[in-house]
């Protein structure tokens, strides 16, 4: 390898040919490698991952709502078939998991609200507890409104 007669010329191309391992200087970040399942190591990490995975339940709910709208528009028989599928044990078990994930999403999301939302009234800052209570009240109100809208004829 070092038999190149051009070595003395010290042109960088020749230098690199002579020393293939040579790289022009640039700093490399030191990153400690960590296991791919790092999020199983601590309870806090597992909760974080579970919180992120609630997004699957959110997407599922949006898609099933679309399926329900489609069944509704295809008539009474199609809607009844959809409702029958919902009554199957497998669907009920699956939707129980979906509901638990969605509740976890709601709770973790609303609990972050005071950190994301700093409300001032004049010079006073509204305390975190009030912001939190406002959001939980909003959740309750939305649930009740939806109940009255979707139940009965």
């Amino acid at each position: 390898m070092s038999s190149s007669p051009d070595l003395q010329s010290s042109s960088s191309a020749a230098h690199e040919a002579a020393n293939p391992s040579y790289r022009p200087y640039h700093p490399r970040w030191y990153r400690k490698p960590y296991p791919i399942l790092w999020w199983l190591e601590k309870l806090a990490y597992k909760k974080f991952m579970l919180r992120e995975l609630t997004s699957l339940a959110v997407a599922y709910a949006a898609v099933l709502l679309m399926v329900q709208i489609s069944a509704l528009s295809r008539g009474a028989a199609a809607y009844e078939r959809f409702e029958t599928v919902l009554r199957s044990p497998l669907a009920l078990l699956f939707h129980t998991i979906v509901l638990l994930l969605l509740l976890f999403h709601s709770i973790t999301w609303l609990n972050l609200a005071p950190k994301a939302l700093v409300v001032r009234l004049g010079r006073r800052r509204i305390p975190n507890r009030a912001v939190l209570a406002g959001h939980y009240f909003g959740w309750l109100a939305a649930t009740v409104l939806l109940f009255f809208f979707l139940v009965g004829s």
Binding site: I69, A76, A142
Partner: protein, 117 residues
């Protein structure tokens, strides 16, 4: 000339979708997929339900809920894949797939709701 980032736009979708889902999704699941089919409540018939959901404002609300929920999920899953499976080197591909799926499903929702009477 710095390229303007798309990140604030997608973050706004993520954030509003998260808020809508937090407020409405548990009640929707409980009412539509437990209480109504199991007869815990006086469930509306197909005809009554179509009338309820057929109102233009309700359709607009449904569209907003579906679209923002989908983009919320796409955004969150994107970063879950980066961090959970150490895939940040595939960020462009994952972002394209995630937002692409959300876009296609949103278009389906728009079609469904526009043709829904």
């Amino acid at each position: 000339m710095a390229k303007r980032s798309n990140e604030p736009f997608f973050w706004a979708m993520f954030s509003s979708g998260g808020m809508l889902a937090a407020f409405l999704a548990p009640a929707l699941v409980l009412l539509l997929w437990f209480a109504s089919p199991l007869g815990w409540v006086d469930a509306p018939s197909q005809e009554e339900m179509s009338t309820k959901l057929g109102h233009p404002l309700v359709k607009l609300g449904l569209f907003a809920f579906i679209m923002l929920s989908l983009f919320h999920a796409a955004h969150r899953l994107r970063f879950t894949l980066y961090d959970g499976l150490q895939l940040s080197h595939l960020s462009a591909l994952i972002a394209t797939i995630a937002y692409g799926c959300a876009t296609v499903l949103t278009l389906c929702a728009a079609y469904l709701l526009l043709t829904f009477s």
